[in-house]
Structures are given as structure tokens and as C-alpha cells.
């Protein structure tokens, strides 16, 4: 029985959500087991997300693909595309209603962004980086997130704009909002309690760092000022900007 190393699963943030690369040299069952281990290790990060699955040079059967789709669905993740250059695999993927991305390059050819994901197409594309290689690599987004929009990235996220109530940001790394953070934010969502959340006005409906959760105090009279939230002694606390 091969030991399953979740690090074999490479996760990248791409324009349309996440891309997940399965190890090319493993049997399908083992690859799926590694994927399951990764999903189980960081459920908060993946829940509700969309994934393009990079399967390498494999030829997959319909059953194989259904298995992958169902596995992801059990963790509340939607499989929306298969990345493969293999003709039969592409055909089966299309039959199952999945998008096909023919090359290994993670930028899909889709024209319009879906309504509930932030449209990044008019901004310069961030380098697609694996969290395991470069944990601090960030995504910079220059717009206000509106209610119902969500932004998910395995690295850090910087929003130049506001995050309105009902919007959510989920980052494997840190979160910086150069504006008002009034929605929900989850930093360190891949299991990192050392992540921080900074904002010019830190008033989230709910804040999570790693496995910790907190909500804003109900003090509406408070003047907004730049603050950083971090975990200290097992609790999320917010400190005015200027502390280390």
C-alpha cells in the first residue's frame, strides 16, 4: 500500500477558480486517495469552490471521471473542467458536461466570467503559482467585491477596494483589504494559524484565521481605522496598524 502524500496534489489559483494537479505516476485509485486526503485536510478552503482537474497523460474512463466528480462533490467542490490532451478523455469529459482544457497551461479559453466569481479578465493575470512552492505569492484584485461574489486563492489576496457584506474572501495566505472589509474573510484557509487579515476598516461579518473564528464586536460607534487581525493565545484579536 503506497503511502499517500497530500503534497503530491498541486493546487493553483487560476482565473476561473482552482486547478488541481493529480500526480501523473500513480494509479488512479491512489491519485484520488491523495486528493481526498488534501480535501479533508482543508475543507474550509475548498468548500463551495470550482476545480479544473489536471490528470496528466492518463486515459480516463467514464467511471474514473465520475469517481473524481463525485469525490469532489462530497466535499462540496464542483468539478467544472478536465485538463487533458488525450482525445478519448476529452470526449468523455465533454459527454459528462465538463469543459475540456486541451493544454497543460491553466488559462481556459472561456469568454465571459460566471456571475458569481470575480471577473479578473481585465486585470493583468497573476502568475499561476503553487502554494507549496511559493507560499506567499499573492493575488491582487482592484475592485470592490459585491454581495454574493467570492474570491478564492491558495496564496495571499490583496483587494484594492471594498469587500461588501455578503462577499467572501478565502485565502491560503494572508488577506489585505485596502478598503472596508465588511464581508467574510478566511485567511490561512489551508491550515495556517499564522496568517493575518488587514484592512483599512476591519468590520467583517465573520473572520476566520486558520481554524479560528471570530465576529466583529457590535460597537458601531467605533471610528474606522486600519487594523490587523491575527491569532494570539488561541484567539483572533485585532490590533491597530503600527504594531508588528
Amino acid at each position: 500500500m503506497l503511502k499517500i502524500d497530500p503534497k503530491q496534489i498541486v493546487i493553483k489559483g487560476i482565473r476561473e477558480g482552482l486547478s488541481v494537479t493529480l500526480p501523473a505516476d500513480q494509479a488512479w485509485a491512489n491519485a484520488l486517495a491523495a486528493l481526498e486526503a488534501r480535501l479533508t485536510a482543508a475543507p474550509a478552503f475548498f468548500k463551495g469552490g470550482r476545480v479544473a482537474l489536471m490528470i496528466g497523460p492518463r486515459a480516463l474512463s467514464e467511471d474514473d471521471m465520475r469517481q473524481a466528480r463525485d469525490l469532489l462533490a462530497r466535499h462540496d467542490v464542483t468539478l467544472w473542467a478536465i485538463v487533458s490532451e488525450e482525445a478519448d478523455t476529452q470526449r468523455i469529459a465533454s459527454m459528462l458536461g465538463l469543459d475540456v482544457i486541451p493544454s497543460a497551461q491553466p488559462q481556459p479559453a472561456r469568454a465571459e466570467p460566471r456571475a458569481w466569481e470575480v471577473a479578473l479578465e481585465d486585470k493583468p493575470q497573476p502568475p499561476s503559482v503553487s502554494i507549496d512552492e511559493w507560499p506567499d505569492a499573492g493575488l491582487v484584485v482592484r475592485r470592490t467585491l459585491r454581495s454574493g461574489q467570492s474570491l478564492r486563492h491558495p496564496g495571499s489576496i490583496v483587494v484594492i477596494g471594498d469587500v461588501n457584506p455578503g462577499a467572501e474572501i478565502i485565502a491560503g495566505g494572508d488577506i489585505v483589504v485596502w478598503g472596508k472589509l465588511r464581508g467574510t474573510a478566511h485567511a490561512g484557509a489551508l491550515g495556517n494559524d499564522d496568517a493575518i487579515v488587514c484592512a483599512l476598516d476591519l468590520s467583517p461579518t465573520q473572520l476566520r484565521i486558520g481554524s479560528h473564528i471570530a465576529r466583529s464586536p457590535d460597537d458601531r460607534r467605533r471610528k474606522p481605522r486600519p487594523e490587523t487581525a491575527r491569532v494570539r493565545a488561541g484567539q483572533i484579536i485585532a490590533e491597530p496598524w503600527g504594531g508588528t
Binding site: 460566471r114 456571475a115 454581495s147 454574493g148 471594498d162 461588501n164 457584506p165 460607534r221
Partner: protein, 269 residues
């Protein structure tokens, strides 16, 4: 010149989409524009009631789309305002009866000899909303100065932008100046701070709206109605006039501003 097709939507129900559609239609017609008000709330039609035209409905928009009636036969002319016409919704069917393509085609036909088409959208963000949005080249979002209405409006603005129909314009409806002054209600600035789109108009809470709906006499026809005046101002702004926004201060004075400063829920200066 092609007609301006404006969808009036909100997300939240009950904020005043239908009242707004009817009254802007009336006000534009008073300015001599040829207007069709189209009720896209299939199954829950209200625009006819607010305009006082419910007794004159013979055919509706679904009849036209399904070929049982010509557009000409379904359009109801308002006897008070010859430039205003209503294309009513169906009350028997539901939203699935009208697809986005149907409405796009219909609006192209209507647009040939009209200046404005105002589409009264259904509440929500599902297919009724998407269908109402399809033919538009402008969008008006109606909201109330109230947190859940603003939350829903924010969502809808995001969807409108994602559909490529933005930027939308905002009408803040049912503002109560006394409550704002006491710090018990969001003011227009609070709403704009979150929604961040251009303001088209502010309409105060006004008893005359309830009366006018019950009588089928839109407030924009009533010289004495404050809400009616606001709707007339909105129509003028749509026609390119620079009309300053109403401030609705009962008695603006140092005392009132000081009172707001120290009230428990007021914003600090």
C-alpha cells in the same frame, strides 16, 4: 433613434419597482416622450393596477409572444396620457412562459416607434430577473434605505455588471427624513457608500403613493405629491437635465445637526 430600454429591478421585493416604473413612465410621457411600460412580472402582475388600467386588459405579453395576439392589440393606451402605453403581464402563467429571447425580440419591435421601454422586473435573481434584464440597454436599481434591501441591491448590481449591462443607476425609495435625522434610518450617503453606483433619484416615503395605487392614479400626475415630484425629477434627469437632488430637510439647522452628532446610532462627525 433607437428606443431606450430600461429595466427596473431591485433584488428585494416590495421596495417600489412597480411604483417607480409606472411613475417614471407617466413623467416621461408628460414630457412628450412615447413610452411603453412592460410588465415582466409574469404571474404576479401589478403594473396594470398601479396605472389604473386593469379593467382594460384583453391580451397580455404572453399572448403576443405565443402568437395569439398582435402587439398592437395587447398594448393599452392610457386615456389620460396618449403617449403612455402598457403591455401587461399574464396573471395565469408563470415566468417560464417568457424566455429572454422572446423579450429581446418584442422590445425590438416596440422600439421602432417608441422612445422609451420601461421593463418592470420580477423580484429575485433567477430567471424572471434575467429575462427582464435581457433586452435592456440601461438598468435602474431601486432600493430602500434599509440594510436587507441594500444587501440585495448589492448582489443584483454585481449580477448586472457581470451580465455586461452595467453600470446601473440607483433610486433610493421610501426615505423618511425624520428617521434619518434621528439617526434611525440609513441616509442616501450610507447607501451609496456600499452600492457605489450613480444616484438617479431619491423618493421620500409618501402616503399619497398608497392612495394613488388604490385609485390607479400615479403620483407623478399629482402636483402636490412629494413622491410624484421626485419621480418627475427622475424623468428629467433621464432626459439629460441636471436636476439637483432633494435634501428633504424639514428644518435644517445647527440644532438638528448637533442632535444627529450625539444620537446613539448616529455616525460620528
Amino acid at each position: 433613434m433607437a428606443a431606450r430600454v430600461i429595466t427596473v429591478t431591485s433584488g428585494k421585493g416590495g421596495v417600489g419597482k412597480t411604483t417607480t416604473t409606472a411613475n417614471i413612465g407617466v413623467a416621461l410621457a408628460l414630457n412628450g416622450k412615447r413610452v411603453v411600460c412592460l410588465d415582466a412580472d409574469i404571474g404576479l402582475r401589478n403594473l396594470d393596477v398601479v396605472l389604473g388600467l386593469e379593467n382594460r386588459i384583453v391580451y397580455d405579453v404572453v399572448d403576443v409572444i405565443e402568437g395569439r395576439a398582435k402587439l398592437r392589440q395587447a398594448l393599452i393606451k392610457d386615456k389620460r396620457l396618449p403617449d403612455l402605453q402598457l403591455l401587461p403581464a399574464s396573471q395565469k402563467r408563470d415566468k417560464s412562459a417568457v424566455k429572454p429571447e422572446n423579450l429581446v425580440q418584442l422590445c425590438e419591435e416596440i422600439g421602432i416607434d417608441h422612445d422609451f421601454i420601461l421593463i418592470d422586473s420580477a423580484a429575485g435573481i433567477e430567471e424572471g430577473f434575467r429575462t427582464a434584464l435581457a433586452p435592456s440597454n440601461e438598468v435602474i436599481i431601486v432600493t430602500n434605505p434599509e440594510v436587507s434591501a441594500v444587501r440585495d441591491a448589492d448582489r443584483v448590481i454585481g449580477l448586472v455588471e457581470a451580465a455586461g449591462k452595467g453600470p446601473a443607476k440607483l433610486i433610493v425609495n421610501r426615505l423618511k427624513p425624520e428617521l434619518v435625522q434621528r439617526g434611525d434610518m440609513l441616509d442616501t450617503g450610507d447607501v451609496l457608500e456600499i452600492l457605489a453606483i450613480d444616484l438617479l433619484g431619491i423618493v421620500p416615503e409618501d402616503e399619497s403613493i398608497l392612495v394613488s395605487t388604490n385609485r390607479g392614479l400615479p403620483a407623478a400626475l399629482d402636483e402636490k405629491s412629494r413622491a410624484g415630484q421626485s419621480f418627475r425629477n427622475i424623468a428629467r434627469r433621464l432626459l439629460g437635465e441636471d436636476v439637483p437632488f432633494e435634501s428633504f430637510r424639514e428644518a435644517s439647522g445647527l440644532l438638528q445637526r448637533l442632535a444627529r452628532l450625539f444620537s446613539p446610532n448616529g455616525r460620528s462627525a
